[in-house]
């Protein structure tokens, strides 16, 4: 075994494979940095080139790309508060506040070291358990997966704001959004407006496909942050000078929290190992783990470095874990590994049980590629951390048009449909108000991510097991205990927050009408869900109706608290009341309008044309840059978009103009 392990290393580092590996790493860095592009998109870009390649080089290139995405996606998460890919959702929570404090370089390098460690941890675990992992994976039946999903939901308590009920309402709303599309148990279309519109209406067709994860993830986090930054018309970093020697501090932070890193790496690999629960909630679980297990966690959410280190360790270690079921059973454990498997088949390598017996050398090639790529990726990222952090000192209004274009593009890339943009706008506006009234957006995200798992596994568990049978399964029982502990820690954290809040002076919330309106809208969404799913089969409606009932109940409780509480009660929260009086703040609706104005323009002249003009006009009129700078910037954006359109075989949404005249690529 050791001999095979060593000879695989030699194969990787000698000859052309190392060059392909570095090529993969470079592509992975770029793909990770662009929001909305993750390993899934990056690997699918590589697939056409992989066909016909020599297997070791092909594997090296794909692994190179896949293993650095979870490292480089931290850049946008920390610098602009937009997750670069799914695995950086939780990094935003504390990474972005750190950037605001002028500590972007510190946050980034701590993240990269953690990520490097996580990646190597995954590789080691993969080597150690690939031959014995079968019984572990098979011990996780649907009952255990259900409990894992419930455990995922239980962390909401530890992450939500001051009012637990607001967090629960948000989680319910997330689950309702997750219900959109085909129901897992009865294969019926739900919440797609087919009750009011005809089935072939574009909106109904779009919603029938379900809402893509990145559409929700980007709009819920990025939209409110950008609107806020635009309003204050400042740079991301509140300090003009960035703190010095950022990456050394980052390394120290990493070393100081080595046990946290180790624990979170284990969580990541372990959950990644189990196919079916998906990688998207791992970040939140390890973020919550970090928050509940460290001392002095009051600062979590406002820029605690440990809130970056935890999720970053797990987000990269999960790939090593996810590779185990992929190679062992041909059952991918994450979105990235699913495409990797397609690529392996194109290379003539068939993942499956026989691989462990007959092609162990190829497995070791994969493991070494994972390890070597991680080292390359981390070195490059650490080197870039400081120069790129300078971006946070630029006035945000200048950056905004580029970011808005990038975000709209990333959203559109989810399913490449108008619906992506439309729905993201809806969620984005909702998110602005959720932030304003302190409804946890994280809770919505977690609810959304786990909605499908909970429904599917609940239904399947009930079919596969008798109730008493479940309680004889040790892993099931352990998971119940962990969930109970997680809920308990959540309550503890909220109580602690209350004490702190009471010791501080209360802000008097004078205007409460906007909060009432928002509560009514949320209640209405709950009622609406119940009404439009009532005609479905029992298996199709039971989940959305239950969630709807919970949501209405929680809304009612909040309503009662608001009605009987005085305006200083913690249930009231309106960030607007804190800012009124400051003159330099721009109007909220105006900034929202700026955000969606390129979309309005697109309706007429198509997405591609409108984005360039938007950049030019915005820079010239609002950021007050000169004409030459604005026009050159617009042209650069056009070039960037055409390059991507060419390489990704992608058409941009056409407008009315395009439906009348046939325009040449890329205008048409």
């Amino acid at each position: 075994m050791l001999e095979a392990l060593f000879s695989a290393l030699v194969t990787i580092v000698s000859g052309p494979s190392i060059l392909f590996l570095i090529l993969g790493v470079m592509l992975g860095l770029v793909v990770g940095v662009i929001p909305g592009f993750g390993g899934t998109v990056g690997l699918s870009l590589l697939l056409p080139f992989v066909f016909g390649m020599e297997p070791v080089s092909g594997i090296a290139m794909m692994m190179g790309l896949m293993s650095v995405v979870a490292t480089s996606d931290t850049f946008p998460a920390v610098l602009i508060g937009v997750p670069g890919s799914v695995s950086a959702q939780a990094t935003v929570m504390d990474g972005f506040p750190l950037a605001k404090k002028g500590q972007a370089a510190r946050a980034l390098s701590a993240a990269f070291f953690s990520s490097l460690f996580g990646g190597l941890f995954g590789a080691v675990l993969l080597t150690a358990v690939i031959q014995i992992a079968k019984p572990i994976i098979l011990a996780f039946g649907t009952g255990e997966m259900l409990m894992l999903a419930i455990f995922g939901i239980s962390v909401v308590g530890t992450l939500t704001g001051s009012s637990i009920f607001k967090g629960l309402v948000a989680a319910c709303l997330g689950m309702i959004i997750g219900c959109i599309g085909i129901s897992p148990a009865s294969s019926e279309y739900r919440l797609d407006f087919s009750t009011v519109l005809e089935v072939q209406n574009p909106i109904v067709m779009y919603l029938g496909g379900g809402i893509h994860l990145m559409v929700v993830a980007i709009s819920i986090f990025a939209f409110p942050e950008i609107v806020e930054l635009l309003r204050s018309n400042k740079a991301v970093s509140e300090k003009a000078e960035l703190e010095k020697s950022g990456w050394l501090i980052g390394l120290k932070d990493f070393l100081k929290n080595k046990f946290l890193v180790l624990r979170c790496s284990f969580i990541g690999s372990f959950i990644g190992l189990i196919p079916g629960i998906g990688g998207s909630c791992i970040d939140w679980i390890s973020y919550s783990h970090a928050k509940t297990t460290v001392k002095d966690n009051e600062n979590f959410g406002n820029g605690d470095i440990r809130g970056v280190i935890g999720p970053e360790s797990s987000s990269n270690s999960k790939e090593g874990g996810a590779l185990i079921p992929t190679l062992l059973f041909g059952i991918p454990g994450s979105g990235g590994t699913a495409i990797l498997m397609g690529g392996l088949i194109l290379l003539g390598v068939d993942p499956g049980i026989q691989m462990v017996d007959t092609q162990l050398d190829l497995i070791y090639t994969i493991i070494w590629s994972l390890a070597v790529a991680n080292i390359f990726g981390a070195i490059i990222c650490v080197a870039m951390a400081r120069p790129i952090s300078q971006l946070t000192t630029i006035n945000f209004t200048v950056l905004a048009p580029f970011l808005i274009s990038l975000i709209l593009f990333a959203i559109f890339n989810s399913t490449r449909s108008w619906g992506d943009l439309l729905f993201a706008t809806f969620i984005g506006v909702l998110a602005v108000f959720m932030k304003r009234f302190d409804y946890s957006r994280v809770a919505l995200m977690i609810g959304f991510v786990l909605s499908d798992s909970i429904e599917t596994y609940l239904y399947q568990t009930m079919q596969f097991y008798k109730f008493s049978e479940l309680f004889t399964r040790p892993i099931f029982l352990i998971l119940i205990l962990i969930s109970i502990f997680s809920i308990y820690s959540g309550i503890k954290i909220i109580n602690k927050k209350d004490e702190i809040a009471q010791s501080k002076s209360k802000t008097l919330n004078l205007k409460t009408i906007p909060q009432w309106i928002f509560l009514f809208i949320l209640t209405f969404l709950g009622i609406y869900t119940i009404l439009v799913t009532d005609h479905l089969q029992y298996l199709g409606k039971i989940f959305p109706i239950s969630v709807g009932i919970f949501m209405i109940t929680f809304c009612f409780i909040i309503g009662v608290q608001m009605y009987f509480g005085n305006t200083g009660a913690k249930v009231f929260h309106d960030a607007e009341n804190l800012v009124t009086g400051k003159r330099e703040i721009r109007n909220q609706w105006l900034t929202i309008f700026w955000f969606i104005s390129p979309l309005f323009l697109s309706i007429f002249i198509g997405f591609f044309v409108s984005i360039g003009f938007f950049v030019i006009i915005f820079l010239n009129k609002i950021a007050e840059k000169n004409k030459v700078f604005s026009i050159i910037s617009g042209i650069l954006v056009w070039i960037f978009l055409s390059l991507i359109s060419h390489f990704m075989v992608m058409d941009f949404p056409p407008g009315i103009l395009q439906s009348y005249t046939e325009l040449p690529w890329p205008l048409g």
């Binding site: 294969s187 089935v199 075989v649």
Partner: protein, 353 residues
Amino acid sequence: MFKKILATVVASLITISSALAVDYSGKTVTIWIPFKAGGGSDTWARAIGPAFSKNLPGNPTVVVKNVTDGKAIGASNKYFAEHGKDKDGSVVFGTSGSVQLPFIFKDERVRYQYKNMVPIFASGTGGVAYVRKDMGVTDIIKDFDKLKGSKLVYGSQGKTSLDAVPILAFDMLGLDVNVVYGMKGRKAGRAAILRGETTIDYQTTASYLKHVKPLVEKGEMVAVMTWGAPIDGKVARDPNFPDLPSFPEVYEAVTGNKFKGTEAKSWTALFYAGFATQKYVMLPKSAKRDVVKAWQDAAAAIVNDPEAMKVLNKKLGKYDQVTGSKNLKSSLKKATSVDSKSEKFLQEWKNTK
């Protein structure tokens, strides 16, 4: 005599002009795949893409475009909305069973019509049903009572997916199978039977050979039957598995009835749409005749390309690749049409639990 010469001249002129007319040199040709990257249809398209590039006049660059807007149905509708009237064949459509089956089940979202398409190339596959060893079944026909008396649980993606073929087959055999829905793909179904939560499952041929056959050899699972393969217009024993009976064989042996009638016809239609000719490359009917010919000729050449065939066989199992206008037309008809009786039967069957 003069007429003959004239006819020859005209015919050869037409051949020359048509050969001249279709030339993709320096152009890009797109295979529109209504599925996401990395999946079965995508891998299939990426395997035949270079082969088409090699064999089409002018050797165009062939790219695969994954369209997922509105899932398989929506993306297929979109193809016809945008390219349904194309003449030059620069964007071809790649289908799969998940595009054919909603059409057969008359899903109201379907807006595409197979009669508006010209098939260019078709790839088939097969499927193998297997059970867990602890059931004690070794031969489905001899041990049928044992199978019938066992606790049968099947993990399914949904009744109107490819799973319609096994579920209807179980129904026709009179097996009382508890079908548990919500599986995300056949892979999840396989994971469930490995864990012992389900007891009966099927996999397509390629996946069976890779993932289940080793288990059968180890004695953990037992293969019981295949869905069969189309041979001379009938569903016969699958040549990839000469020792396993096909479903129609099992049906006749177990029930004592001939494999005839509405149920059998409906099942056969589903089998053709989902397995026998599962994946098609198609052009819209509006494409010029010589464009269609150029593509069909290229498809015929691919079958003789060992490298492309290697990947296809690996992906789908060793099955016939259908080429040639006549064969394609008859197979597409089988894969996409049902008589009114079967249609009525399928609609009713869909709505029973």
